[in-house]
C-alpha cells in the first residue's frame, strides 16, 4: 500500500480506541507519528528514524485489574450489600448498574492490554499507548525496526556487541522472594474464606448474605495480596483472574439475595405468588458451594504455580 501524496503516512498495526481518547501510530517517510486523539483535537509526536535508540515491549499480566479499580469495585460491592439491608429498591437498581459496568470491565480486561510498548530516544523514553497487544506490537516493532536500521545504516546483529560494553548490574535481586512469601500467605486466607463461605464448622447463620460476605472477604484478601505481591508476571495474572472469579461468585450470591428480596409477597392490591423458600435455600446452597469450590481451586492453582514457577520463569 502506498501513501497518498497529501497524506504521507501509512498506518502501523495497533490502535487504542476509547470513548474519550484514542491513539494510533503512523509510518512517515523519515519518522513515525504517534497520534493521540482526544475527540476534539489531535496531538502529534514524531520519532525520527535516526533518533530512535531502542524499542521496548513488555508483556503485562492480563486479567489483572489496576489497584484503584480493584478498590473501587470492592467498595461498590460493599456499598450495595449495605444498601440491600436498608433500602432494597435502590440496591437492586444500583446492583444492576454495577453488574453492567463490571461485566464491561471484565470484557475489557479479557480483550485488551497485554503489553506495554515504549520507545527510547536521546531525550528519554516515551510510552506508545496505542501498542497494547503483543501481536500488533510485534508487527509494528518489526516494521519500524526495518526502517530504523535502513536509516541508521546498521544491521541488527552487530548491536549486541556494542551494547555489551554497558555496565552490568552489580548484584541481582533474588527473584520472586516477596512474591513467593505472599503467595504462600495467600493459601491459608483462601482456605479460610472457603470455610467462611461454606459455613462448615462456624456458627454463622445459614443465609446467602453470609455466603456473599465470605466471597467478598475472599475477594478483599486476594486483592490486598495481589496489590502487595505486586509486579508483573504470571503470579499477578493468576491473582487477578481469581479475584475476578471470586467477585463474580459474590455477585451471583448477591443476585440470590435480590431473588430473596423480590420473593417476599408484595401487597399492591393483591398478593403476588412467590417461589418457595426451599427452592431459594437450595439455590443459595449451590452458590456457596460454587464459591467455595472456586476458592479451593484458587488455592491449588496458587500452590501449583508457586511450586513450579522457579524453573519456568528463568531465562532459556
Amino acid at each position: 500500500m502506498t501513501a497518498r501524496p497529501d497524506f504521507p503516512y501509512r498506518k502501523l498495526p495497533g490502535a487504542r480506541h476509547g470513548i474519550i481518547s484514542g491513539a494510533s501510530l503512523w509510518l512517515g517517510i523519515d519518522h513515525i507519528l504517534h497520534v493521540k486523539n482526544t475527540r476534539f483535537a489531535e496531538d502529534y509526536r514524531r520519532y525520527y528514524f535516526s533518533d530512535i535508540q531502542a524499542i521496548y515491549l513488555q508483556r503485562t499480566a492480563r486479567f489483572a485489574p489496576p489497584p484503584l479499580v480493584v478498590i473501587a469495585v470492592i467498595l461498590g460491592l460493599l456499598a450495595i450489600l449495605v444498601l440491600s439491608i436498608t433500602r432494597h429498591g435502590l440496591a437492586v437498581e444500583l446492583g444492576w448498574i454495577f453488574l453492567l459496568f463490571l461485566s464491561a470491565y471484565a470484557a475489557w480486561l479479557c480483550m485488551f492490554r497485554s503489553c506495554i510498548c515504549s520507545i527510547q530516544t536521546a531525550l528519554g523514553t516515551d510510552r506508545l499507548s496505542c501498542l497494547h497487544r503483543v501481536t500488533a506490537a510485534r508487527a509494528a516493532v518489526d516494521r519500524i525496526s526495518d526502517h530504523v536500521l535502513t536509516a541508521q545504516g546498521g544491521v541488527q546483529e552487530d548491536v549486541p556487541e556494542q551494547v555489551e560494553a554497558t555496565p552490568q548490574p552489580l548484584e541481582h535481586k533474588p527473584p520472586r522472594s516477596r512474591e513467593q512469601l505472599f503467595g504462600w500467605l495467600t493459601l491459608p486466607f483462601i482456605l479460610l474464606s472457603s470455610v467462611l463461605v461454606m459455613r462448615l464448622p462456624l456458627p454463622i447463620p445459614d443465609t446467602p448474605f453470609a455466603a456473599a460476605l465470605g466471597a467478598i472477604l475472599a475477594a478483599v484478601i486476594l486483592a490486598v495480596l495481589a496489590l502487595i505481591a505486586g509486579r508483573g508476571g504470571r503470579f499477578r495474572a493468576v491473582q487477578g483472574a481469581l479475584l475476578v472469579l471470586t467477585l463474580l461468585c459474590g455477585l451471583e450470591l448477591y443476585g440470590l439475595i435480590l431473588v430473596n428480596t423480590y420473593s417476599q409477597p408484595i401487597h399492591i392490591g393483591r398478593t403476588v405468588d412467590t417461589p418457595s423458600l426451599t427452592q431459594f435455600a437450595w439455590a443459595a446452597h449451590m452458590g456457596s458451594i460454587w464459591v467455595a469450590g472456586a476458592n479451593i481451586a484458587a488455592a491449588f492453582v496458587t500452590a501449583a504455580l508457586l511450586l513450579r514457577n522457579q524453573p519456568s520463569r528463568s531465562n532459556p
Binding site: 517517510i29 502529534y44 525496526s145
Partner: protein, 214 residues
C-alpha cells in the same frame, strides 16, 4: 546509553537484547522484547571548529559573519553555517524560517496539535440524540452552530492522518434536521395560537342579551 529494563530499571544482559523472542529480565522477571539500534551506541555529532572557520573567498553565514556558509535556506535563501542549518525532512531551513513556519503552521512536520472541527460539528449535531435530556432544549443553538462549523471549516486542515469529510456531511444533515425541528415547533406554536384566537374572541363577543332599541 545503558539499555535498562523498563520495569525495574536495571541494565539488561546481552542475551535479552535483540533476541528474536520475548525473554525474562533476570532482576524482575518481566517478559521483554528489546530492540536496540545503532543510534544507541553512536557518539553525538560534534562540529569541528575548523569546519566553521571562514577562509579567504568563502561566503559567510547570514547570522554569523565570521563563520563559513555551507548551505542556503530553502525558504528565504540566506546562507547558513553548519550551526544555523536545520535539516527537516530533507529541507534545509534557517532558524527564523523554522520559527515562522512553526508559528504559522506552514511546515507540516512542525505541527504538534490540530483541532478536529469535523468531530466537533458532528458531536454538536448529534448531541440531542446522545444526550436528549439536557441538549434537547438547546437545539435552536446546536443545529446552527453545527452547520456553521461545517461550512466554515470545510477547507480547514483537519488532521495529519487520512480523514474524509463524512463527519461534516452528517453534521450538516443533523444540523438541518434540528433547524427544521425548531422551525416546525415555532410554526406549530404560531398557527395554533392563530387558530385559537378567533374562538377566544368569539367567546368574548357572545351576545349578553337582546339589544334594546331606544
Amino acid at each position: 546509553m545503558i539499555i535498562a529494563c523498563p520495569n525495574c530499571g536495571r541494565s539488561l544482559p546481552p542475551e535479552v537484547i535483540n533476541a528474536p523472542e520475548l525473554r525474562f529480565c533476570p532482576a524482575c522477571n518481566s517478559n521483554l522484547l528489546v530492540r536496540v539500534f545503532p543510534a544507541n551506541s553512536r557518539a553525538k555529532a560534534v562540529i569541528a571548529p575548523a569546519a566553521l572557520a571562514l577562509a579567504e573567498g568563502d561566503a559567510s553565514c547570514f547570522h554569523h559573519a565570521t563563520k563559513r556558509a555551507v548551505s542556503s535556506c530553502s525558504q528565504c535563501g540566506r546562507f547558513l553555517c553548519a550551526l544555523c542549518e536545520v535539516d527537516l525532512s530533507g529541507q534545509i531551513l534557517c532558524p527564523s524560517c523554522l520559527e515562522s513556519g512553526g508559528a504559522k503552521k506552514k511546515i507540516r512536520n512542525l505541527e504538534n496539535h490540530r483541532t478536529l472541527w469535523d468531530t466537533t460539528a458532528l458531536l454538536l449535531g448529534a448531541s440531542p440524540l446522545l444526550l436528549p435530556f439536557p441538549m434537547l432544549y438547546f437545539i435552536f443553538l446546536t443545529g446552527p452552530i453545527a452547520i456553521f462549523l461545517s461550512i466554515r471549516h470545510w477547507k480547514s486542515p483537519s488532521s495529519l492522518i487520512p480523514r474524509t469529510k463524512w463527519r461534516f456531511i452528517v453534521a450538516i444533515v443533523l444540523g438541518l434536521l434540528q433547524v427544521g425541528a425548531v422551525a416546525a415547533i415555532v410554526a406549530l406554536l404560531f398557527y395554533s395560537s392563530r387558530a385559537y384566537r378567533p374562538r377566544f374572541e368569539q367567546s368574548k363577543t357572545i351576545p349578553r342579551g337582546p339589544v334594546r332599541k331606544r
